[in-house]
Amino acid sequence: MDKDKVVHPYIPNSVPRVQKEMLAEIGAKSIDELYELIPDDLLFKGKLNIPDGYQDEYSLRRHMNELMDKNTPTSEKLSFLGGGCSPHYVPAICDVINSRSEFLTAYAGEPYEDHGRFQALFEFASMLGELVDMDVVSVPTYDGSQAAASALRMACRITGRKTVIIPRSLNPDRASIIRNYCYPQIEVLTIDYDVRSGLIDMEDLKNKMSGRVAGIYLENPSFFGIVETSAKKIADLAHENGALCVVGVDPISLGVLAPPPQYGADIVCGELQSLGIHMNYGGARGGFIASADEERIVSQYPTRLFGIVPTVDKAWGFGDVAWERTSFARREDSKEYVGTMAALWGITAGVYLALMGPQGMADVGRTIMQRSAYAAMELGKIEGVTSPALKAPFFQEFIVNLDDDAGKTACDMNELLLDRGIYGGIDLSRIFPELGESLMLSVTEVHTEQDIDRLVRSVRQIVEGR
């Protein structure tokens, strides 16, 4: 059977009669004729080694279900994995809105027929702006790591300098992304952290800070989950040297933690996943960049920015602010580049913030802090377990250290927890060997007292060899 003749549901004009009519109108004998510009030696004559399609939808579903059944998601177990991607409750309306055909399948329409897209993203920026206490927020970029990398490049352009500082306590993947993005023009220095507290080593920072530094990047909460209590001093030190202070946040913490400008941040950035977005194996991310409304800063954003505009009929209109900055307008002379990034997650995060409101964000922050504090405290009561291992206030994530009395490595512990149906913590022993046999756990509003007690019981049993 000539498969080119099969009528596929996704391809209306796969009907042979229609094709014949269209070719007749065009005045071509065959579809092959339309490819005449492709030289013969570039035409692929073989058959792609790809299976025959499951043309009926039911068979496709069966096939996909078989594959997906090989996954055991966190929802079927008890999971304390975090490290920048954490389970939070996703309100039903977030999923309803981001799966609407209008938003899901729109792309780059104009401010008229896509008015709602512009308004939803303007509102996302407006609400996030309140959360981080800034007047300018970007349309989402790829993820929080990209946002951090772009924010540091912005700092370089704003100051005209070419050195940035990042803490060594950063998620190593994020550090790799930042280094990669800054290379080759920008030098990335690393400052140490105090092993007992996890806080940035101020002495090391003072040594490395100079008039060459464009910006220092720190996170609140940090990768280790701790609150960088010296943030104000760090920002002051940056400013004394003419550098900018760039702060990465987990926005779900900002109902209880201070918005970074309060302690001196010039640029705020972060990851949106915690705001109403499922984890998706780490594949549903969106980053944002925020700052004050100062032209010297706004003109250095690489991303799109949506602004509000009057219309002839006195409605709210929206459009692209300072389009001439972007690579769409300036190609090789632009600020970095812009393209398809993560708009749908920005809309989703906006829905989340609208639902939560001021009280919801305060409540969720409090619940996370209380539950994670409880988990850390209870784990710390087990012989051979130090928890929380770092002496600093923390939000959601904390480190549990296993000493010799525990008789288990972090890797052993995770395996034995897995046997009990628990996805334990992130094993830090290889990426941060100075922290010893350590696991990093993430406790959020989705973990009940019962869940936490089960974790604690299991760890105790494992340590006691039961």
Partner: protein, 523 residues
Amino acid sequence: MNGKETGFHQARWNEPVIYERTSPGERGILVPEAEEEIKNRVGDVISRVPKGMRRKGTANLPEMGQSRVLQHYLRLAQETLGRDLNIDVGQGTCTMKYNPPINEAFVTTSKIADLHPLQDEGTVQGVLEIIYRLDQFMREISGLDRFSFQPGGGSHAIYTMAAMVRAYFEEKRENRNEIVTTLFSHPSDAAAPRLKGYKVIIVPADEDGFVKLSSLEQVVSERTAALFITNPEDTGIFNPHIRQFTDLVHAAGGLCGYDQANANGILGITRAREAGFDMSFFNLHKTFASPHGCGGPGSGAIGVTEELAPFLPVPLISRDEVSGRYSLNYDLEHTIGKVKDYYGVIPAIVRAYAWIMSLGADGLRQVARVAVLNNNYLLHKMRQIKGVDAPFAPGEHRLEQVRYSWEKLANDTGVVTTDIQRRVADFGGHYWMSHEPWVVPQPVTLEPTESYSKSELDTYASILEHIAREAYEDPGLVKGSPYNSTIGIMADHSYLDDPKKWAITWRGYRRKYRSYFEPVDRS
């Protein structure tokens, strides 16, 4: 029935900005509270945070009951024209094809949505197998040897190519500082290499729209690190000399990167391998039917030859031939490291896999052939409209898209392409002009894909034909549009370009304006 006769009017809700709908005390959702036992044991943990690091008061977010939040966003949805609702052939270069809802069913199940990226590999064999198998498919489609799905879009893939080019020549200890691209390639082919420290050289097309080999010869040298080129270019013209191009660059010691963001007209027809490329990428949100999500998340699947594979971002997915077990492989000798969190945009990867599995090898070819047939049919219809022309490649057929010019219409009537763009919204359609700079005067780029029926293409052409007639008969009508869209015309662009006037958030607006755009008196 013609589109212009449907009496279309898009939803016009005059929906307030969400802050105007706030009603103090209302709640959209309640949050789980810590249990009494926990509260008793740990107390108010927030007080352990030093005062300067705590939030004072609450954030100024809207306060709205749940139903009103839903209503607000549904209204905004109705004021957005998704692909599913229109004949979306007007966004050329974007491949606005059908996004099958069955694929949404896969990515929204807990089996994908609730996976954590650092779960034990034994618990994620299904998703790893999907990524692994998609890699195999992409190798077939491109002829290349290894794919990474880490980049989050096409521009991100171009950036990744530039990063690999740099790493490759550093490894070889060759100092090459130029990347060559063409004027009809995507703007990011010029912008992203610049970010990696390259001098970017742009080769123009000749008057027929082709980039001449001799033009390329003039700029390729021992300084050339790579050629980044889109093919077919935005004009829908396939560069017949592409193999000579890659041979030329290779002879000079450079690498070749193929921008196949939009490969919709050539699936199973012609491949990067035979055209001599070392690297290539596909946008899963274009050719492979993952929806565009209002501008992402997308995915740029980047493929390379065996020689460049050690430079790819980590991790890749490997399969143990004995056990059949899939794992994350970080062991790449010269890896550039990471370009994005974790392993890429998983929902786009799963959808692309499912889409290919619904079509098979023959179906993919059918997609390309019908996309090209549809485009040439629309080209034929467009040629019958007064005032529009399809510059370049006279007499030649095009592949998946065409960049048309309304230059004659503009000269005859004063109606320009941006006017037509707004007027198309009155008929429930999209219309996109061109990347910049506008080499083609008064441009519009149409790309019908395989997803639209003959009658839908007729309808879209009839809308443009109707507007062209309006332009000749009553140009003011077109210039004052839109009328049947979500809002009336925004005439004053200084609100977007003047730092004193722009407002990028609602609080920014409130700082600058009192009532409807009445400036706050700063004196």
